[in-house]
Structures are given as C-alpha cells and as structure tokens.
Amino acid sequence: MMRALTRPLRLALLLALVPVFAPAQEATPQPGQEPAEQIVAGLSRDNIGITTSFDGSQILIYGAIKREAPEPANDGLAVIVTLEGPLGPVTIRRKSREFGIWVNTAALGVASAPSYYAVATSGPLKDILDPKVDVQQRISIPLAMRAFSGPVQVKDTRPFTEAMVRIRERQGLYTLETGGVRLVENTLFRADFELPANLTEGDYKTRIFLLRKGKLVDQYQSAIDVRKVGLERWLYALAHEHAAIYGLLSLALAVIAGWAAAAVFRFVR
C-alpha cells in the first residue's frame, strides 16, 4: 500500500478529509450482536446534478474502521466498495450469419441489471472474498445482474451474460478496480470513483463491505442521488409529461430557426 507518500503524510491527508464532508450516515443494522469492528463512512457528496455542461463526475467514498477493542488479528482484513446505478431490464442479442449477412437471431432478456456498476477492492477479489459471501451479497460484477425475464430461449445463457459484462466494461459502465480501495494502517480507507458522462438518472447505491479472511464482518450502505437539474430537468420533464407541447415546441424552434436563417441571409445579401 505504500507508494509515493510517507505514512504520516497519507494519514494526515485522510484524516483532514473526514471533518470537511457530510456527517457519516447510519450503517445498516446487523442482526444479532454488534460486530467487533464497524465501518464509519462518508461520501464526498450525496447528490450529483446533471447540468448542460455535465461531463462525468468524481466521487470519493472514505471512512474508518471503529474498534471497541484492539485489532483481533492482524491479517486478512479487506475492504470492498461498490457503487451501483439504477436497475433496469436489458435485452442481449446475438448475431449470426444468414444468407450472407449478419442478423440478430437470438436474444436473452435480463429482468434487471444496473446501468452502472463499479467495484473497488483493497486486494484481488479471489483472495479477499469468500464466494459464498459474494453470492449472498452480490458483490462481483457478474452477480450484479438479476433474474432473466421471460422464457429463456437460448441453450446456454453464459455467453450472453458474459457479453453484457464485456460490452458494459468497454463502455466504462462496469468497472472492477483491484487496489482501488486504499487501506491505511488497517483503519482508514478511501476509494475514488470516476463516473462517466453517460449517466442514467436515479439513486446510486453505495455499499462498503468489511471483510476478514473472506468473511463479512460489517457492511455499510448509503445512496447518492443523481438528478438532472435546471434546463435539463425542465426539458426532460416537459418531454415526458407534456409530450404534445414539447413536440410543438421542437417544431416551432425548428421553423423559427429555419426562417430566421433565411431572413438573415437575405438581409446580408
């Protein structure tokens, strides 16, 4: 974990960040007794406004591990942070060659998959996460998509789901950042996320998992509200709630612009 910065300086930086931002939100209640180690965390911002000049955004998720007693055993501690966009149905299609041209011939519907999903970890997933915990909590990228929708008409669904992950990774919508969580002194951690420009509106769920030897010790959940604001909000709402007015507005704008250009050119000549 030690790279360019010296340890005291890194600590100081991380600590300096904490009081500046919004107070940490409540951790998800755990069944049974309180865990020996708990996550205390915060987000650099809890809402993102999509304005006309929106070109992606950065978000910092940071926190500390609170302990009542000294650290139990100094091994196998890991932190995973996930950021998940709103869920929606997706259709995955496959082309094959028919009569010499490439045609969509097979399709698989996914009932709900996140429009964005980023996973940042403090180490390689296979070393720090028990597969059982992964399935339970749906942490790794392939597990982010939920059930299939409608009857499954393809023999093997795996190439389809793999293709979906592959395509979304290529678009920068699904990312796995191994080492993206920086863990200092087994106490402080931070993860930086780079959100792309083609964001979908909605609640972005952030989850932080504290693991020891692959087992879940504590988890924390919070949300970031991503909304269009200002002109973007107004136009989007108008297009959906008053479609006829919006349609006429677009036409009026087109006609006026066309006519005005002709008038200007006539005047110039």
């Binding site: 304005t51 006309t52 000049s53 929106f54 070109d55 992606g56 929606g88 149905p89 997706v90 259709t91 995955i92 299609r93 496959r94 082309k95 094959s96 060659r97 010499g100 041209i101 490439w102 045609v103 969509n104 399709a107 519907g109 429009s115 929708s149 409608g150 190439p159 389809f160 293709a163 979906m164 592959r166 395509i167 979304r168 420009a197 083609n198 964001l199 979908t200 509106e201 002109l231 973007e232 136009l235 989007y236 297009a239 479609a243 006829a244 919006y246 349609g247 507005l249 677009s250 036409l251 704008l253 087109a254 006609v255 612009a257 066309g258 006519w259 005005a260 250009a261 002709a262 050119f265």
Partner: protein, 305 residues
C-alpha cells in the same frame, strides 16, 4: 466543449454537432434532399441512441427544409397542389411507417431493416442517377440536343381523378403522386430521413415533372412530412432531443443557405453526378457493414423484448 443532451442522455462535443449539422445543411441546400440519409447514420456513429437519432433527425430536417423551401418559393419553383397531394400520401405512409418502426424495434430487427433499406434504395437509386447523368452529359458533349421526351402517353394517363398541375405543366391523375407520397412516407419514418433521395427521381422519371419544380416541391412535401414524423415520435416515444436538434439546426440552416447559393452556380448534371456518388458511398458503407463479421456478435438494448 462538451454538452449533456437531456433526452439522449449522453454527453457530446458541441462543435461536432454544429459541424455535422453544417455539412448536412450544405448538402440539403445543394441537392434539395433533406440530408436525413446522412444525419441519421452519422448520429448513430457518434453514439446517439438510434431511436433518438431517427426522431431528432426528422426535427433537423424540418428546420433545414424551411429555409430551403422559402428560398424555392421565392424562385416560384414549388408546385403547391402537387406538393399537397404528395403530402397527403406522405402523412398516411409516415403513420404506417412509425407503426412498423416500433414493431421492428421490439423484434430487435430495426437496425437490420434500416440498413437494408439504405443499401437497397440508396444503392439502386444512386446507380440509376449516375447512369442517367453520365448519359446526358455525353449526349450534350456530342452536341445532339435530343432530350428525353416529355408528355408521352402511357397507362398512367388513363387513371381517373385527373388534375391540372399548372406549375409542372402536367394533366395527370392524382393516384400516382399519392402512391409516391405514401411510399416515401413509409421510408421516411423507418429510415429517419426526409425521403428526398427517392422522391426526386420518382418525380422526374415516374411523374415526368420538369426538373425546375422538382426540388422545391419535394422540399415542400418533406417539410410537412418530417414535421408530422417529429411530432409523432415526440408523443409516442419521447425521443426528440430538442437540445441536440437545436445544435444540428444552427449548423444546418447556415449550411443550407450556402448550399443553395452554391447549387445555383453548378450545372444540374454535375449536381446529379455528385449526389449519385454520395448516395452510392453511403450505400456501400452500410452494405459492407452487413457483410463483414461484426466486431462483437452481441449487442445490448435497454428494455425488455
């Protein structure tokens, strides 16, 4: 400068959009085509979702044809009664075309249908135009003035509901122009184009209209059909992105004015050869995309099938 489009939900470079609009506007003014057959594929290419590209392309065609129609009206190059007959057909066709578009989108075959339409129609019309234009140019070089005869008496002239189209100097039934209008309307809605590239040759070769009123009349019809298409897409699919349209329009109206000035200086035959080559180019590009194995056999569509 990046700008976030509220309906398309993507962030794109503003100058790319202005430039794109400008090029398409230039062609629109030059050839009397709406330019939709270029703008829709170009919008796909820069990452605008297809449904938004088709609907917004139609809105941009409205603006570029308004300024061009005004210029043509001043030159008295619009046969308004003929335009109205084509328009009635166009609106009927467009309504049907939007229905087919939505059905094909659901089936996941819209991209294929659009590409096939482009290849078949653009390809064959481009070749026909090129052949015709080259032949006329050769004839003119030889000095023989024997042009294609107009007012030939064919079966078309035996159809009922005849009407005198004064500006075109035609006395024909309204049925052929109506059918041309319907056909163009269907293609307009499916391909996200104005349909000028198919209407202009249909008017010249099928309806025997004189070249001087063809461009103005076709633009007149395109203006109203694309306005209707825009409105229908806005109320049924909410896919018209007004921000995207505005940027394309600003570039487009300027381009259209320059294009129509430039067009007045070039010879009709030269114009036709240029348009034919452009049309063939687009058809060949899309055709090879269908034949070559795609980079990824899989594709994603948001929504359930």
């Amino acid at each position: 400068m990046q700008i976030y489009l509220p309906i398309a939900e993507v962030s794109v470079n503003m100058y790319t959009l202005l430039g794109l609009g400008g090029i398409v506007g230039l062609l629109s003014g030059l050839f009397g085509v709406g330019g939709g057959f270029l703008i829709t594929p170009l919008l796909f290419f820069i990452g605008i979702p297809p449904a938004v590209a088709v609907a917004t392309g139609a809105n941009q065609v409205v603006a570029s044809s308004v300024s061009a129609v005004l210029a043509q009206l001043k030159r008295k190059a619009v046969d308004i009664p003929m335009g109205l007959v084509l328009l009635v057909g166009g609106i009927l066709g467009s309504a049907g075309g939007i229905w087919v578009f939505n059905l094909l989108t659901k089936l996941g075959q819209i991209d294929l249908a659009v590409q096939l339409c482009y290849v078949v129609f653009l390809g064959s019309i481009g070749l026909l135009m090129l052949q015709e234009a080259v032949r006329t140019m050769r004839r003119q070089k030889k000095g023989a003035g024997a042009r294609r005869k107009r007012n030939q008496h064919t079966w078309v002239h035996n159809l009922p509901f005849k009407f005198k189209f004064r500006a075109s100097g035609l006395y024909i039934s309204v049925i052929p122009p109506l059918i041309v209008g319907v056909f163009v309307g269907i293609l307009a809605a499916i391909m996200g184009v104005g349909g000028g590239f198919i209407m202009v040759p249909a008017m010249i070769y099928l309806l025997n209209m004189p070249t001087k009123v063809v461009i103005g009349t076709s633009l007149f019809q395109i203006l109203f059909v694309s306005a209707f298409t825009t409105f229908m897409h806005a109320i049924t699919n909410q896919t018209v992105d007004v921000m995207l349209a505005l940027l394309l329009i600003v570039g487009g109206v300027v381009g259209a004015q320059i294009g129509s000035r430039l067009g007045a200086r070039l010879k009709a035959e030269q114009l036709r050869i240029l348009l034919a080559l452009l049309v063939i180019l687009v058809a060949v590009k899309l055709g090879t995309d269908l034949i070559i194995r795609p980079h990824d056999l899989y594709s994603l569509a948001v929504g359930s099938h």
